[in-house]
Symmetry: C2
């Protein structure tokens, strides 16, 4: 796999087109430029409490109330002199002259005056100017995927625009003559009973991309008959508008045929084929110009397996994602049963959380078949095997696709 | 918190309305009825290989090719008798009479005949009828949140409809006179510089709900001025159409005022107030009829904290979610620094993954301020403290909101 990834990378380049967006429209995009603080923050002393803005040198003492400044006030317009105080709310900018706040509960109010018993130190109970960020300070680096958490943080310090890369554009083509798009429940049930298969592999990849690869835009997702000319024609017309084509099903020898068809039509080159071969369903890649067409299994879980191992890191590369991506929910679980060596393959497991440890129990053998995805309804995790025999007690990475048994929320 | 949760539960009941949907429209809904397998699956013997369907009793031997059956064929329409074979593809139903398959690579084809050298056992290289599920077998229980993984699994065994609950309906009201909705980047920057605050708390809660509570529908999310009459009026008119109102900001004494305003207008009862008080920003609840209005902090992270600890489990309860929810990405991380005891509060941390262990390092103190959400841009996790002092080496639950440093993907 690492080699396949390197081959794909060496034939293609990450996205370079970028544009400027308001911060509130930036989530799910990757920063194309570092972000620096535009101002010292806060730009003025800010109250950290509801209370009274004062000159600390006047405390303790009896101070005259000369006004108020509430949070969100655009212009304070008040200045305090010796022996004066101004009522402020949490988050409000202090009036000129004030260098500290006395919290409400620490004063006695009397006839337009406040009595402060304690000595208040300079900058006490306030966020002083520039105490949170300094103008020019690096806040986020090129390559960070932006999320709603960044929106919250950046807007607070008055960063309102950022430069981001355009999204990576992917098309998904599902092929297979046995596949159908569901219509109504009853006729769909009849068709499935008679041997048709509802096309779900493309939908599973789409859902995974929505969840974990928000920097990727799915520009098309179609079901085509398993006909080389039709698929080749479709791909040829897609290529201008996408960075990568994912092709599920029709792998194996006919996949190679398809790739030769493409070669005849528009040129191109086979990069590799037959990774993760299990039941004759390889992960392959062909390249036309600088646009790879990656062939995945037609089986939903096998396709997802190839996607996670190869396509996921490749799409991170294409999208310039250095950090900040939604974390894949992979736990290192303790196996409770053995798994025989073989080609790397996904194993449907039931994950339980007990005393701080995740335990993974493979479902019965019958549910491990590529044709027994009903196991996905019963399981909550997918374990990724390597090439070795595994025994109870060994640790294995597991993708949790729903909540583990026994993990209590809230924290 | 557990008490507050129990109070909310004791005043309200989970959603009972349910309806039937096609399985492909079921993701993000919770099962209202158990799902059983409608048929033995597969309903006929199914080939597990590309090869030849045979009567195992005829092997080894020379068999006459009498037809083919490919995957997806609605009607096989072929029957094999003694000494006959039919070409089949993986996943195809076997013709009547056949009870096993000989994989392609194990035969020699010759003039309309195949020569099988090995003895093939009954059911070898096939998925026998009923081997994956038996008619009536329980596949998923009431209370399971359905996902795309269930769609894949259920459609495969011809489950095409399910009964699900309607979603839980939530409205989010953000209040605060200092809050603004952003317009264009430049004037927004100027307003923030002058002391206004862009309203992001509601958006953060919305994003969290979209990610982790897909069984919840956000029917409204508005910003209102911090005016008791306006907020009370709005809530009063919302109540018929929602199960829960979340109110961010305007907490503290004015929240109570609001609640009394509601009491005057439409009746109701204060359930509790002042949970997680930190800087005077309580989590409170009021109930009108059986509709709770839950007050959260106006500070984004404090609101999220209250949401995760109280509202998350409550919305699971209202939505009948027993299992299958997107797992909250909470890791038990080893602290690298100390955290002082105090009210439970969220701590912005940087999480690193090293040799199978997550380490959490709190950001500098200044970034822990409620008014320093810029820390969210620098951090990747939110640690949840309890009431005790914590020292380096202690374990602490951390919500990872983006990928941990040093965790390599793919698996």
């Amino acid at each position: 796999m690492p080699e396949a990834l390197e081959i794909l990378k060496s034939h293609t380049r990450p996205v370079t087109e970028s544009f400027i967006v308001p911060v509130w429209e930036s989530p799910d995009h990757v920063l194309a430029k570092d972000v620096h603080a535009p101002f010292d923050w806060p730009p003025r002393h800010k109250s950290a409490y509801d209370g009274y803005a004062v000159r600390s040198s006047d405390t303790p003492g009896k101070l005259k109330l000369v006004g108020e400044a509430v949070i969100g006030t655009s212009d304070v317009g008040i200045k305090i002199g010796e022996g004066e105080a101004v009522y402020v709310t949490t988050g409000a900018y202090l009036p000129d002259g004030a260098d500290a706040v006395v919290p409400e509960e620490k004063v006695v109010v009397e006839d337009g005056y406040i009595i402060v018993k304690d000595k208040i130190e300079p900058h006490q109970y306030i966020d002083p100017r520039g105490s949170i960020t300094r103008k020019g300070q690096l806040l986020a680096k090129r390559g960070q995927l932006l999320t709603v958490y960044d929106v919250v943080g950046l807007l607070e310090v008055a960063v309102t625009e950022v430069e981001v890369y355009r999204k990576v554009r992917v098309a998904i083509i599902s092929t297979g003559n046995e596949l159908i798009v569901p219509s109504d429940p009853i006729s769909t049930q009849m068709k499935v009973y008679k041997g048709k298969v509802v096309a779900t592999t493309g939908g599973l990849l789409e859902a995974f991309i929505y969840e974990y690869l928000p920097w990727v835009e799915i520009v098309d997702s179609v079901l085509l008959p398993d006909n080389k000319e039709a698929v080749a024609w479709y791909i040829k017309h897609l290529l201008d508008n996408v960075d990568v084509v994912l092709l599920t099903g029709g792998t194996g020898p006919s996949n190679i045929d398809l790739f030769y068809q493409l070669k005849d039509d528009i040129g191109g080159e086979l990069l590799f084929r037959g990774l993760f071969v299990k039941g004759g369903r390889p992960t392959s890649a062909f390249i036309v110009g600088n646009k790879p067409i990656i062939g995945l299994s037609g089986y939903p879980l096998s396709a997802l397996h190839g996607f996670i191992r190869l396509v996921y890191p490749y799409l991170r590369y294409l999208g310039n994602v250095e950090k900040g991506a939604p974390p894949l929910y992979i736990v290192d679980a303790v196996l409770t049963d053995s798994i025989k060596a073989g080609r790397p393959r996904p194993i449907k497991v039931r994950v339980e959380y007990r005393d701080g440890v995740y335990y993974a129990t493979p479902l019965n053998k019958v549910y491990q078949l590529s044709s027994a995805n009903v196991g996905l309804v019963l399981a909550n995790g997918i374990a990724f095997t390597g090439a070795e025999n595994l025994k109870p007690g060994d640790k294995i990475p597991v993708l949790l696709y729903r909540d583990p048994i026994g993990r209590k929320y809230p924290v």
